[in-house]
Amino acid sequence: MPAGTPQKALSRLLGEIGSVDAVGVEERVAKYAARSIKTASKVQGLKLAVSMVDLTTLEGKDTEEKVASLCRKALRPSDDPEVPQVAAVCIYPSMVRYARKHLGRSPVRVASVATAFPSGQTPFRTRLAEVKAALADGADEIDMVINRGAFLAGEFGRAQDEIAAVAEACGRATLKVILEVSELETYDAIRAASFLAMRVVRPGDFIKTSTGKTSLNATLGNNQVMIEAIRDFYLSTGVAVGMKPAGGIRSAKQALQFLVAVKETLGDAWLTNRRYRFGASSLLNDLIRQLQKQKTGAYQAPYYFSENSDSY
């Protein structure tokens, strides 16, 4: 089948799902940032955000001990028992066995990036084998990257078939499809890629903004485009897909703004870690710092909380 030019493939799909105006999106999300979240609603929002964190380490220098330490942090993020556990730890496939060991049967899930994260540039059978290996080692969730090369070349069918095959391979595990928005560049392309992914994933699977390995990661703007796509898809099919912004969300204030966006776009049903996650590492400590501030009325000295995710 002739693929046509990339632009034709994109405009054909946009003709079906509708396009996005960048100026309008920025204007909408500016209103989220202007929301003022105070007192009890702030505490509730911060705790909700903690419960949505996919605590992440994705480094060449990761070791079993590093992952073990991350798992302990995930299980008990703070000495304050009111702070909930995080949703998952997110690691490379080679670390899955260690994470499984240290998390045991706890509700904290093991999420593994796979499919030649972050570039995705290996033969598809290799990527699929990586997914299967991570699952065999005990991963509960797979964070795959889409084939951006195929997408940008207009080969939507290929990009989508690969997502479908990974979804198939996931079995009972949850799939998160990373669009890598910084490489798609436009909001139109982000919306198109969101639909490509949502049409082949299962209810309860996620779409995710980025790998965190490029210059631009999750922003309120691309979060908005993706949650609007999720909303439109849900209203037309009844299939509820989750959302995971990842990378670049470092402060509690930012996290609350993302939650405001979810509340006002997708509604209450998405205010849960079954449907919304934050891919982050240093965010967790800022959330805990702000919770302490709400409790004691004072900010603790900076050395109480590490800014550096390396030292979890």
Partner: protein, 503 residues
């Protein structure tokens, strides 16, 4: 090329999926707490001083969100107008003789002093008018300051307004402004007038005079020479006396078309220069190729900004038939998360209607809409017990002959009509006595250009709505008035062009 891959799970839901906008995570009250520094009683500002009215009478200004009294305002009458006009005329020779750059310094100073006290003014404006603090803080006060800055910049460049000609001021300018944007309308009127060397007598709306009189404090602090700006508060008849005063060389009015016509009749035969910015019934036109979520946001900004009490509000929504159902359902979902209530809460999107009288007018239109056969929808929302509140309201099934499609409601009420072709959209949009503004939503650039030519409206916004900038002229066609405010065009309405070398 295959886009849709068949999937395993059944994709048809048994019941229509719905979004849940409940209170699982509710925002706590976030009241703005800055002190508005209101005085218990405001006198008239004439000749650089606060003076009691000749009649010795005062009237109350109330907070529309609580119905509590805010302050007492001087009830100015014809005698006070006369006194103010004399003060302005006395100040004119020296003020107009100042080099432009000297006048510019005063305008810069006013703008900066307003910025310094921005929060205080935002709170005062919200208390007085009922509009949300988010709008006064982010729009009214900053845009007001921007107008003073912009015209300060023009003041030393007046010889470049028109090549080979220079701008001369007109003399004393009489200005009457409405209650919907008290500070902003005042800056639209005063800043260009002062820039050119005119002197001003202004009458703010009786409902909302407090911030004008607070700004008079800033004129004092800025050292503006006495009499250059005079503020006379009072009822509509005082505005009439101002418009008709013989010392007034130019009148500038913003308000309803009805009152505009009365004013024009009263000054017929005089040589007063006039600009009128009157009512509107703008069409906001959404084509099927438009980015719909952003269009919905634009529709919301167009009609629910300032509770719809905006002369250029996008009060008629014209939707392309193929997307009409989608747009209405997206709009309803958006309205469910608009927050109506205490204007002082930083999270409030829709505040209070300015007065009981205006609330009654809007209610009258709701009844008319239902009686004439349109279908009304309002999102569920809890309104405060006291104060003048109205939930955002949309009417579907509206036709051109309905009153809610023809008359300016000046409230948060949207009438939705549909169209099939571009020609039909233009025909329907222009089928109104008004012509102030319009909006076009489409992905197609050539269509935007065609619409902006054929729509008989002073402003046409493309893929956005309700955007204002001091550099952009604003004004109407047909019964929406004449003359422009803002930009170079706005300056031309406050002076006369004289050929170089002539007196």
């Amino acid at each position: 090329m295959k886009i849709q891959t068949p999937t395993r799970a059944p994709r048809r839901p048994s019941t229509a999926p719905e979004l849940l906008f409940g209170d699982l995570w509710d925002y706590d009250p976030a009241p703005e707490t800055a002190d508005p520094k209101l005085k218990a009683r405001y006198d008239l500002f004439i000749g650089g001083e606060f003076v009691p009215p000749a009649g010795g009478k005062y009237f109350e200004s109330v907070n529309p969100a609580t119905e509590a009294k805010l302050a007492e305002l001087a009830l100015g009458g014809p005698d006070d107008v006369d006194r103010a006009c004399r003060a302005a005329a006395a100040a004119f020779p020296a003020w107009s003789a100042l080099p432009g750059r000297e006048r510019g310094k005063y305008l810069y100073r006013i703008a900066r002093l307003l910025q310094d006290r921005a929060r205080e003014f935002a709170v005062a404006e919200t208390l007085d008018n009922g509009k949300p603090i988010r709008e006064t803080r982010d729009f009214d006060v900053p845009t007001c300051a921007a107008h003073f800055f912009y015209h300060a910049g023009w003041a030393d460049k007046l010889e470049y307004v028109a090549p080979g000609r220079r701008m001369e001021p007109l003399g004393v300018v009489g200005q009457v402004i409405p209650w919907n944007f008290p500070l902003l309308m005042l800056s639209w009127k005063i800043a260009p007038a002062l820039c050119l060397g005119n002197c001003v007598v202004i009458k703010p709306a009786s409902n909302t005079s407090i911030t004008a009189l607070k700004l008079a404090e800033i004129f004092q602090d800025a050292g503006l020479p006495p009499g250059v700006v005079n503020v006379v508060s009072g009822p509509g008849s005082t505005g009439g006396a101002l418009m008709a005063h013989p010392a007034v060389a130019k009148i500038a009015f913003t308000g309803s078309t009805e009152v505009g016509k009365v004013i024009m009749r009263s000054v017929a035969g005089s040589d007063k220069k006039m600009t009128m910015e009157l009512g509107g019934k703008a069409a906001n036109i959404v084509f099927d190729d438009a980015p719909l979520d952003q269009a919905v946001e634009g529709i919301v900004n167009g009609i629910f900004f300032n509770q719809g009490q905006v002369c250029c509000a996008g009060s008629r929504l014209l939707v392309h038939e193929p997307v009409a159902r989608t747009v209405v359902s997206k709009l309803k979902a958006r309205l469910r998360v608009l927050r109506v209530g205490d204007p002082m809460d930083k999270n409030t999107d829709v505040g209070a209607i300015v007065s009981r009288a205006q609330l009654d007018t809007i209610r009258g239109y709701l009844k008319a809409g239902v009686d004439e056969g349109a279908e009304m929808w309002q999102p569920p929302c809890r309104l405060p017990k006291k104060g003048f509140f109205m939930p955002p309201t949309i009417f579907t099934g509206v036709t051109q002959s309905h009153r809610i499609a023809r008359e300016e409601i000046f409230g948060p009420v949207l009438s939705i009509l549909t169209f099939r072709t571009v020609d039909e959209a233009i025909e329907k949009a222009n089928n109104t006595e008004y012509g102030l503004s319009a909006g076009v939503w489409t992905d197609k650039g050539s269509r935007i250009l065609r619409m902006s030519t054929e729509l008989k409206a002073g402003v046409v916004w493309a893929n956005t709505y309700n955007k204002f900038d001091p550099a952009s002229p604003f004004g109407g066609y047909k019964e929406s008035g004449f003359g422009r405010e803002g930009g170079r065009h706005g300056l031309l309405d406050y002076g006369r062009l004289v050929e170089e070398g002539r007196p």
